[in-house]
Structures are given as structure tokens and as C-alpha cells.
């Protein structure tokens, strides 16, 4: 399954983007909430 995601450029793109947006959400809630 993982290899399928990696072998497709769009799949890799999606996995990476989801992870990045998740990390950005984490950063927002841990460090920035209330600061904006």
C-alpha cells in the first residue's frame, strides 16, 4: 500500500501535503493560538 502511494507522484504529493498541513495545524494550536 505504502509503495503504491510512493510510486504515484500524486499519491506522494497528497501524503506529504496532508502531513504538512497536519504539522502546520499542530504548530498553530501549540504555539500560536491566542497570539493572532
Amino acid at each position: 500500500m505504502m509503495k503504491w502511494w510512493m510510486n504515484s507522484m500524486w499519491g506522494f504529493w497528497l501524503v506529504l501535503l496532508t502531513f504538512s498541513l497536519g504539522l502546520a495545524t499542530g504548530i498553530y494550536y501549540v504555539w500560536l493560538k491566542g497570539n493572532i
Partner: protein, 354 residues
């Protein structure tokens, strides 16, 4: 939390170093200053808008210098092209700023700016993405036929048209291996400078595709040459902002400390990939920035009442930096694995140098 006394805000040091590092990688790899990512991020961290622009510009000047030096070592700078374009860029920036002031006086600058940036970024994304996919497929075919593949391949026919304009003086750009009318280079400088001045950005994301698709330079040369422009424009911007008191040097120091490492990694990574890989990252950066601008545009048009739209714009700003940075590091990792003969995804093979 660190107390930035000049800016009058408290922000985590770690995040500033982190932003400097990630945007350093992206900037060194695709040849942009990254102002369209950094300024919104600094505003998110609590810095006032004018201070965010000043800190961003000053950090871009320092980071641009580091990336330029590294790209010079890699032989990615065409000085003839860079210095010919500077004059046109300066003129274009001045025209862009004056147009912006005109719209500001009409009271519609905010919406016009957002609409223009969305249209420009989305058009560039579309063209870059379609052309790069075509090049990727062509590289795939060449690889399967066992043919020799160089560092660059682009399938656009636009450079042939611009290089055929026979208007003296004709400039020979030796490193870029391009022979083109000086007026074409100046015109590219004016147009990209105009958009940069109007949108209030450094303009790397417009200049790199313009150098590749209009002048006909290879992507690596376009990246290195554009960074020279960024040192000039960033340096001038940093000076202007410092005189106006828009720069908190402590914030710049923290960002530069991350960018120093990031810019080196990003610049060195270009030596491991072919041109289309750089153009892919550029087009991804454009589409994500477009989404961020669309969210901000809807937020402004709805009277700044729908809070979750602003939150999504924040996520996209931070997410974009992390995503692009991870994508570049992944390409670097796959390129090294490919060199060792280890397994790498099929789509990566034509994009990296083995």
C-alpha cells in the same frame, strides 16, 4: 517566547529559526526570496504588517547572498544575463509601485492586489505544470530508450520565438548558452519588475519561469541568475526599510541563523536534480500560494467576518513552507538512493541525476 522590543511583540524563537530554515531551503532550490510565504507567516506570529515586510526583506538580502555564493560555486549564474536584467527590473519596480499608488488613491488597492496575484500565480502554475509534465514524460521516454539525458529539458517553443527577434544589440550569454536581443532581456526585467513592484514581492516566482520560458535559459541558470537579482532588490529594500525603522534586527538574526543552513541545503540540492524537478517545486509553490490568496480574497470580500477562512489561510501559509521543504529533502534523499542503486519511486528516476 522572546520579547522583540522594537517590533513590540512576543514570539517563539524556534518558529522564526524554523521559518528561516524552511524558506531558505525552498529559496535556494527554486531561486525565490520567499516573501510571499514569509510576510504572511510573520503577520501570523503577531508582527505588524510593515514590520513583517521589513524583517522579511532584510532576511531575504542575507539569505540571497548565501544562496548566490553557493550557486556561483555550482556555476549556475550568468552574470551578463543578471546585470542586463537589473536595469529593466528597477524600472519595472518603479512603474509597479506607481500603479499601486494609483489604485490606492482609488481605494481599491487591496482587492486589485489580491485578484492580480491570484490571476498571475494561477496562470504561471498552469503553464509551468503542463509544460513540466510534458518534459517529465519526454524524459521518461528517453530513459526507457536508454538515451543520454542531460541536466535540462524543456519543451516550450516560446524561447525560439524570443531568440529570433533580431533587434540590436544582440547579447551572448555564455554560461546560459543563449544568444538573444538585449531588449528581450530588458523587457523581461521590466515586466517581471512591474509585477513584483505592484504585488510588493521580490518577484523571483515570476522571473524564474520568465528566464526559462522567454529567454531560454536552463532552470539551474535561471535559479542562480534570479538570486543575483534578489540580492540587489533585497539589499535595496532592506536599506529602505531600515531607514524607515521597519526592521527588528533580533528577528532578522534568528531567521538568518536558520536560513544560513537552509539556503545551503536548497542550493546544493539543485546539483542532484534535473530542471523539471525544480520547475515542479516552483509550480507547487505557486498553486499553494494561490489557494492562500484566494482564501484571503474571500475573507476580505465577505467583510472579514468568516474567521475559519483566515485560519485556513494561516494553515496554508505554514503548510506550504513545510510541504515544499519536505518535497525538496525527499528529492535529495531519493537522488542519493538512486546513485547507490537502491529502490526509488519510478516517477523520481527521470527527475534526478544518477
Amino acid at each position: 517566547m522572546f520579547d522583540f522590543m522594537i517590533a513590540g511583540v512576543q514570539a517563539p524563537i524556534f518558529l522564526l529559526v524554523f521559518v528561516g530554515f524552511t524558506v531558505g531551503i525552498v529559496g535556494g532550490f527554486i531561486g525565490v526570496g520567499g516573501g510571499y510565504m514569509v510576510t504572511p507567516a510573520l503577520i501570523v506570529f503577531g508582527f505588524p504588517g510593515y514590520m513583517a515586510s521589513g524583517i522579511d526583506m532584510t532576511h531575504i538580502a542575507g539569505k540571497g547572498l548565501v544562496s548566490t555564493l553557493r550557486h556561483r560555486q555550482l556555476g549556475n549564474i550568468d552574470w551578463t544575463l543578471a546585470l542586463t536584467m537589473v536595469a529593466g527590473t528597477m524600472l519595472g519596480v518603479e512603474l509597479g509601485v506607481r500603479t499601486l499608488v494609483y489604485f490606492k488613491n482609488l481605494g481599491i488597492a487591496g482587492v486589485v492586489l489580491l485578484v492580480t496575484s491570484v490571476v498571475v500565480m494561477f496562470s504561471l502554475f498552469l503553464y509551468t505544470q503542463i509544460e513540466t509534465r510534458r518534459s517529465h514524460r519526454a524524459l521518461d521516454v528517453m530513459k526507457s530508450e536508454g538515451r543520454e539525458i542531460g541536466r535540462e529539458l524543456h519543451t516550450s517553443s516560446l524561447p525560439k520565438f524570443f531568440q529570433s527577434i533580431n533587434l540590436a544589440p544582440i547579447v551572448r550569454c555564455r554560461t546560459a548558452r543563449v544568444v538573444v536581443s538585449m531588449w528581450v532581456i530588458v523587457l523581461v526585467g521590466v515586466v517581471t519588475g512591474f509585477l513584483a513592484g505592484f504585488l510588493g514581492v521580490g518577484g523571483g516566482f515570476i522571473r524564474v519561469p520568465a528566464l526559462v520560458y522567454l529567454v531560454g535559459a536552463s532552470t539551474h541558470i535561471a535559479v542562480g541568475t534570479d538570486l543575483v537579482e534578489i540580492v540587489f532588490s533585497g539589499g535595496y529594500g532592506a536599506l529602505r526599510h531600515s531607514i524607515e525603522g521597519h526592521v527588528d534586527m533580533m528577528a532578522v538574526v534568528f531567521m538568518i541563523s536558520g536560513a544560513l543552513f537552509g539556503a545551503q541545503i536548497g542550493s546544493i540540492a539543485t546539483a542532484y536534480v534535473r530542471g523539471p524537478a525544480i520547475r515542479y517545486v516552483l509550480s507547487y509553490s505557486l498553486i499553494l500560494a494561490t489557494f492562500g490568496s484566494v482564501m484571503r480574497l474571500i475573507y476580505v470580500l465577505t467583510g472579514q467576518k468568516v474567521e475559519w477562512l483566515s485560519l485556513i489561510a494561516v494553515m496554508l501559509t505554514l503548510g506550504e513552507m513545510i510541504f515544499l521543504c519536505l518535497f525538496i529533502i525527499s528529492l535529495l534523499y531519493f537522488a542519493r538512493r538512486n546513485k547507490r542503486g537502491a529502490w526509488v519511486p519510478e516517477w523520481v528516476k527521470p527527475l534526478v541525476i544518477s
